[in-house]
């Protein structure tokens, strides 16, 4: 894509286009206005008098014997000096009148009777010129409307406008009316500019021409300074274009000055200086050479083909024009072959139109509906069929052959129609649709595979290598976040990266469109972006395309230049955007896939952890004389941080037994790990010295060292079957409830109740509770009383107490189930927010019961 022209210039071009169209329309309309017309084409540039530049073939003047080169002295008994006077005189006359003309031919003065015609159109050739001009204008307008921001398209539009003015205004049969002068001047201006714009266009198209004949090569002497200057001059320096556009008016001024001095009108061809015609031809030839050079130097087959088509079409149009419409009249003063020069010019717009449809020239995509093409084909074939039948019939009737021949002939033609249509269709398919279909199919294939591919590496390969190949790019890199720091980098070459938060990344997300690197102002970016940009440029990247979704930059595609060395056209960028979007989708899918995989792994690990954790709970409740026990632990996640256990501190369950209920802050794996660790620490301490305050103090110190800011709330209850007491310390746990006399109350609270691990050094005290037969105790973690309803209300101590009392008569397993049921009803399906663990202890004073289950 060539750089966008400034807005002011674009507006000027639009104005030129509108003016050109108006003038051309005026010219064409004027040709069909019924007015008295004599078929004389006056020389607009004659210094005095009314000189006949040409007479329209078949027009009134030709019929009256007026010839080119004559000077009209008078019309209708009035002497004239200027075309304006002639126009005024003709204005007074009416079509159909026979009017005397006084004509000077050489030394002779002749009087001729001219029958004025109501039409100004002398021959069909003007219709052709007008159609040709219209074709050029339509083509230019179409391209410009699609590619208004492309300099080459802009120059092409200007070129088409000038071609239109040249054909419609310069080559028209004209007369004396002011409008003729007006359009002739417009045509002459077109003549001035046409060649220059033509050459200008082919210096920009298909790519900006760069001459490299004076470049320093390593190990060689530097080229001569004049060559360097010449190369710089030719490579689109402003001076080149100034020269290009100044020469024609300069030639005109010079030639007209000579004409004024010498009076030699032979230097005029079609009323304009011969030098300008020759200059026009030279410019056209140079333009052709520039195009031929583009073809010769194009490396890619896909680039060479459209250029070759254009070259052939332009050659076919321009060469006859230069020969028959410029050089012949200029050098031999022979204008008979003008039509031979002009008629083939139709090849130029037709070839461009073909190249646009066929090769998306100017990056303009024209969808030619297959149905339309096939309908046209069928119409053509049907026409041929009808023609053949008519011809066959004519042949039969002229030679008086058997009437059966007509029938047989018709039948044969009917049978041939379909094969013929199919053959033609195949040709059309090959010409217009196959390449496009192949491309679209390949593109769709890549898009589909990118999304379907879950392997990042393979997806990266698809996105880069195959896309680069399909889009004919020298390279295409996909930069994705680096695992270690999230910076965008090519996993294959991670040395160049765009750090997270860099300005360029934000810019890419904001634009959400391809960004040509040369359009970026490095000094508007931060330093990391600048260095990234520099490195990318050095690597040959030309365009960066954000791979983003929902405002999140997932990666960046860095596209190198096209192998054809053409500029990036809109369609290329659209394709890159499509690929980037597909890439974003693919990356997300891949990420999701990875996440799911990871989660599955974690879940598997959690399952294992849960199994391990479950194995840490007592498999069987110990049988202890005088009490019944039942314990429940419900982790909020797969694994939880709560635990309970019974430690036979005297070596067996017939002695003292420590009931431990713990709750580790946090949840899941970390909590469960700490739980395991805490449990082991407590066990170890308890085995050394079962005194609760000692166990707490020692365990606190150890847990603090394991993990800061993670605590363990712990209840440690040492049951003495002999004294029927509970000697206990509690850190961070709710106080156990005891139901005695149909009322649930809390056990007395020790003074220090800090959770273990909160402070490095702290002391804990212990309390002793004297049990009675029939006491029911509930040891629990906060997950039980803090169970939350959907309205975020806690179950609370009172509800817990009530539930405990209500179900106190039931056997322990049923009681546990009823309490849980009460809680479930309260929470009404709300997700369990915390691990919940409790142990029920009923004092029976009897022999130990058989082991219960957990």
């Amino acid at each position: 894509m060539t750089p966008a022209p400034p807005a002011a210039r674009r507006r000027a071009i639009v104005v030129v286009g509108i003016l050109g169209a108006l003038i051309a329309a005026m010219s064409v309309a004027d040709m069909f206005l019924p007015k008295a017309w004599d078929g004389v084409v006056p020389d607009t540039y004659a210094e005095s008098g009314l000189q006949v530049r040409a007479v329209v073939r078949g027009g009134p003047a030709e019929g009256a014997g007026i010839r080119p080169g004559d000077t009209i002295l008078g019309i209708g008994r009035r002497m004239l000096n200027t075309p304006a006077e002639a126009a005024s005189e003709l204005g007074r006359l009416a079509a159909g009148e026979t009017v005397p003309y006084l004509v000077k031919r050489g030394e002779q003065v002749l009087e001729r009777e001219v029958l004025l015609s109501p039409y100004r159109l002398g021959s069909a050739s003007y219709v052709y010129y007008a159609l040709l001009g219209g074709l050029f204008f339509g083509l230019g307008l179409f391209v410009y409307s699609r590619r208004a921001r492309d300099e080459a398209a802009e120059v092409f539009f200007l070129l088409c406008v000038l071609f239109m003015l040249f054909f419609v205004c310069r080559l028209r049969p004209s007369s004396y009316y002011w409008i003729d002068w007006f359009v002739q001047v417009a045509g002459t201006l077109a003549l001035f500019l046409l060649g220059a714009v033509f050459l200008h266009f082919f210096l920009l198209f298909p790519r900006r021409k760069v001459f490299r004949f004076a470049e320093a090569r390593p190990g060689e002497d530097p080229p001569a300074a004049p060559l360097v200057y010449l190369q710089r001059f030719l490579n689109g320096s402003p001076a080149l274009f100034v020269l290009l556009y100044t020469l024609p008016p300069a030639f005109y001024a010079l030639q007209m000055a000579v004409l004024r001095r010498t009076g030699d009108r032979s230097v005029l061809v079609y009323g304009a200086p011969r030098a300008n015609w020759i200059l026009l031809a030279d410019y056209l030839v140079l333009g052709l050479l520039a195009l031929a050079h583009s073809w010769w130097t194009a490396r890619e087959r896909t680039t060479r083909r459209p250029i070759l088509v254009l070259l052939l079409g332009t050659l076919g149009g321009i060469v006859p024009f230069v020969l028959f419409a410029v050089y012949f009249p200029s050098l031999f003063r022979d204008e008979r072959y003008l039509a031979w020069g002009v008629v083939p010019m139709a090849l130029v717009p037709l070839t461009f139109a073909y190249a646009i449809v066929r090769f998306r020239l100017f990056d303009v995509q024209v969808i030619v509906g297959k149905s339309i093409v096939y309908a046209i084909l069928t119409a053509i074939v049907t026409g041929l069929y009808a023609l053949a039948v008519v011809a066959g019939n004519a042949l039969v009737s002229s030679r008086t052959l058997s009437p059966l021949f007509a029938f047989a002939f018709g039948l044969a033609v009917v049978l041939l129609v379909d094969p013929l249509r199919r053959r033609m269709q195949a040709v059309v398919d090959r010409l217009f649709f196959r390449d496009r279909a192949d491309f679209q199919s390949a593109f769709r294939d890549i898009s589909r595979q990118v999304v379907a591919q879950l392997d990042r590496g393979k997806m990266q390969q698809l996105l880069t290598e195959r896309t680069a190949e399909l889009l004919r790019l020298s390279r295409l890199d996909l930069l994705t976040p680096r695992p270690e720091d999230g910076a965008l980098a090519d996993p294959r070459r991670g040395d160049v990266s765009l750090p997270v938060g860099a300005a360029l990344g934000r810019l890419l997300v904001e634009r959400d469109a391809p960004v040509p690197l040369r359009d970026l102002d490095p000094w508007a970016l931060d330093a990391p972006s600048r260095s990234f940009l520099k490195a990318q440029l050095e690597r040959g990247a030309r365009v960066l395309v954000p791979v983003a979704t929902r405002g999140r930059l997932l990666g960046v595609l860095a596209a190198g230049e096209k192998k054809s060395e053409e500029e990036f056209h809109k369609e290329d960028l659209d394709n890159l955007v499509t690929i980037a979007n597909q890439g974003a989708l693919g990356l997300e899918v891949a990420a999701l896939h990875e996440q799911l995989t990871r989660r599955a792994e974690v879940e598997r690990d959690l399952e294992i952890a849960r199994d391990i954790q479950v194995s840490l709970f007592p498999r069987e409740l110990p049988r202890i004389a005088g009490i019944e026990l039942y314990g429940v632990s419900l982790p909020a996640k797969v694994v939880g941080g709560d635990f309970y256990d019974f430690l036979p501190v005297d070596g067996g369950f017939d002695g003292r037994v420590a009931l431990v209920v713990g709750d580790v802050s946090g949840k899941s794996i970390p909590a469960s790990l700490l739980m395991v660790a805490a449990k082991e620490i407590v066990y170890a301490r308890a085995m050394q010295d079962p005194e609760p305050s000692t166990v707490f103090r020692e365990s606190n110190r150890r847990i603090y060292e394991i993990k800061r800011r993670m605590f363990v709330s712990l209840g440690y209850f040492l049951y003495d079957p002999v004294q029927l007491t509970l000697h206990y310390s509690i850190g961070g746990q709710p106080l156990p409830l005891v139901v005695r006399g149909g009322e649930a109350v809390e056990l007395p609270a020790p003074v220090s109740r800090l959770p273990l691990g909160a402070l490095r050094e702290t002391t804990y005290d212990a309390k002793t509770f004297w049990l009675r037969r029939g006491d029911l105790l509930l040891f629990y973690t906060d997950g039980l009383n803090e169970a939350m309803s959907v309205e975020s209300a806690y179950f609370g101590d009172e509800r817990l107490k009530a539930s405990l009392v209500r179900h106190s008569a039931a056997p322990l397993p049923e009681m546990a189930e009823e309490i849980l049921e009460d809680i479930r009803q309260f929470t009404f399906g709300a997700e369990q927010s915390d691990d919940a663990t409790f142990v029920l202890l009923r004092v029976t004073g009897a022999k130990p019961a058989p082991p219960g289950s957990v």
Binding site: L73, G74, M79, N81, P100, L102, E107, V109
Partner: protein, 472 residues
């Protein structure tokens, strides 16, 4: 503003616009009417007179101006125009008319006053220089008025300034390329300079602009007649007579055509008819002279003598110098006719009887009259068989003509005939080369001049003599 107010305002503006437009038109129309008269009808006749004058229909122009004066006796410009036309015929009446016009001086505009002053200087005061000065003043004051250029061209022609005359006409046609009569003057200018191509060019322009007038056809006919394009000449001259049957010059030029063709009898017929149609004795005498020459060519010397005498008798009474000049001319013509008729003694007697010219006679006029005797002397020499003498006298005539710049084309191609007769004498004397040289200028103008071709046939060297034809 309410609607009725807007309507009133609009009407007021419209009324003002109409009033202003009307006033402007009236002022412009007044300025454009270049003459002062109280009668629109008189003005119409005046315009008609001008048109007739431009067409060289002098009789019709006279009638138009007279009609205009009838309708408005104080119409100064009609009076002046009428005087101009009558000046050549009745000078006294012309003077009287100018005096009448002078009385209206006070009411005339500047343009009219200047015109009146020009005519007063020419006719009343007889001061051509003053008239020329006033003409120049007129052109200075009214550079856009073609009338001034016509007058100036006349003045310059009279002053013998042909190039300035040409330039004036060119300025005139540049100013208004539709001044038809200007092309006639330009055509004659080039005709006299033997540039027949340019002459034809201008005559054709004249014909293009005035195809309804007889004069353009006559001018072209005259050119064609004198350059040997007889069919075209005849066609044009007859077309002129179709347009205006009494157009005298066309009749005369038809005689020229016949004379150049070598059809002397035919020439006599046309010259005689022209002479009969002529309104003035001068014209009658001129055409009769041509008829006489044609009769001599036809070998009818006696008839020529009779015709000459008839015209001479019909001459109006003259006195003083005019009578003397007439006497000389008649005698000279008679001497030529008598000599050609073989009556040499009578011819000699005719010349011997010429009255003496008085000492105060204009020297130029005297020289011209004396030189004009070379004609009869040459005729007598031929009659006597003195061909050397004849050659000498013929050359005297040609030398005189050379001094006069080869003169106008007269109705009878007299100069060509002199050269032809000279060549004839030289052939008889056995000097064909000299004869051929004498014929060359004749054939250069008119390669089909029959008498010259006859002499050439006698020489037998036609091819070399016909080189350098006059164009077509």
């Amino acid at each position: 503003m309410t609607k009725p107010r807007v309507r009133k305002l609009f009407l007021a503006v419209a009324a003002l616009a109409v009033a202003a437009g009307g006033t402007a038109f009236a002022v412009l129309a007044r300025d454009r009417r270049e003459v002062t008269t109280r009668s629109a009808e008189a003005y119409r006749f005046y315009r008609q007179g001008l048109e007739n004058e431009r067409r060289l229909y002098h009789k019709d122009a006279l009638a138009s101006y007279a009609k205009a004066l009838e309708l408005d006796p104080h119409f100064a410009m009609a009076t002046v125009r009428l005087a101009g036309l009558l000046a050549g015929r009745d000078r006294d009446r012309a003077k009287s008319l100018v005096q009448c016009a002078s009385q209206s001086r006070e009411v005339l505009n500047e343009r009219e006053r200047l015109t009146l002053e020009i005519v007063e200087a020419e006719l009343l005061a007889g001061e051509p220089k003053k008239a020329a000065e006033r003409v120049r003043e007129y052109v200075r004051r009214f550079p856009e008025d073609p009338e001034g250029y016509f007058r100036l061209a006349n003045v310059l022609a009279r002053e013998g300034k042909p190039d300035e005359t040409l330039a004036t006409y060119e300025r005139l046609v540049a100013l208004d390329p539709n001044q038809a009569i200007a092309y006639n003057y330009l055509g004659y200018y080039f005709l006299r300079r033997r540039d027949f191509v340019k002459g034809e060019d201008f005559f054709k322009r004249y014909r293009f602009l005035a195809p309804d007038q007889a004069n353009p056809y006559d001018s072209l006919g005259e050119l064609y007649a004198n350059t040997g394009r007889y069919a075209e000449a005849e066609e044009h001259l007859k077309r002129a007579l179709e347009i205006k049957p009494d157009f005298l010059p066309a009749v005369g030029h038809l005689g020229t055509v016949e004379a150049c063709r070598g059809n002397a009898e035919g020439a006599v017929t046309w010259y005689r008819r022209a002479s009969e149609l002529a309104e003035t004795w001068k014209d009658r005498y001129s055409f009769a002279g041509a008829a006489v020459m044609a009769l001599l060519d036809a070998g009818r010397a006696e008839d020529a003598l009779v015709l000459l005498d008839e015209v001479a008798v019909a001459a109006p009474a003259r006195e003083g110098v005019d009578a003397l000049v007439l006497r000389w001319n008649v005698a000279r013509s008679r001497a030529i006719v008598l000599a050609i008729a073989g009556r040499v003694e009578e011819a000699e007697a005719e010349l011997a009887g010429l009255p003496e010219l008085p000492p105060d006679f204009d020297p130029k006029g005297k020289a011209a009259l004396e030189t004009s005797l070379s004609g009869p002397k040459a005729a007598m020499a031929v009659a006597r068989g003195d061909l050397e003498g004849a050659v000498r006298h013929f050359r005297e005539i040609l030398a005189t003509e050379a001094e006069r710049g080869m003169g106008d084309f007269s109705y009878y191609p007299s100069i060509f005939r002199v050269r032809t007769r000279l060549a004839d004498a030289l052939v008889t004397l056995g000097r064909p080369d000299e004869a051929r040289e004498e014929l060359r200028p004749v054939l250069a103008v008119n390669p089909r001049f029959a008498p010259a071709l006859e002499v050439l046939a006698r020489i037998g060297g036609r091819s070399s003599a016909t080189t350098g034809g006059a164009g077509r």
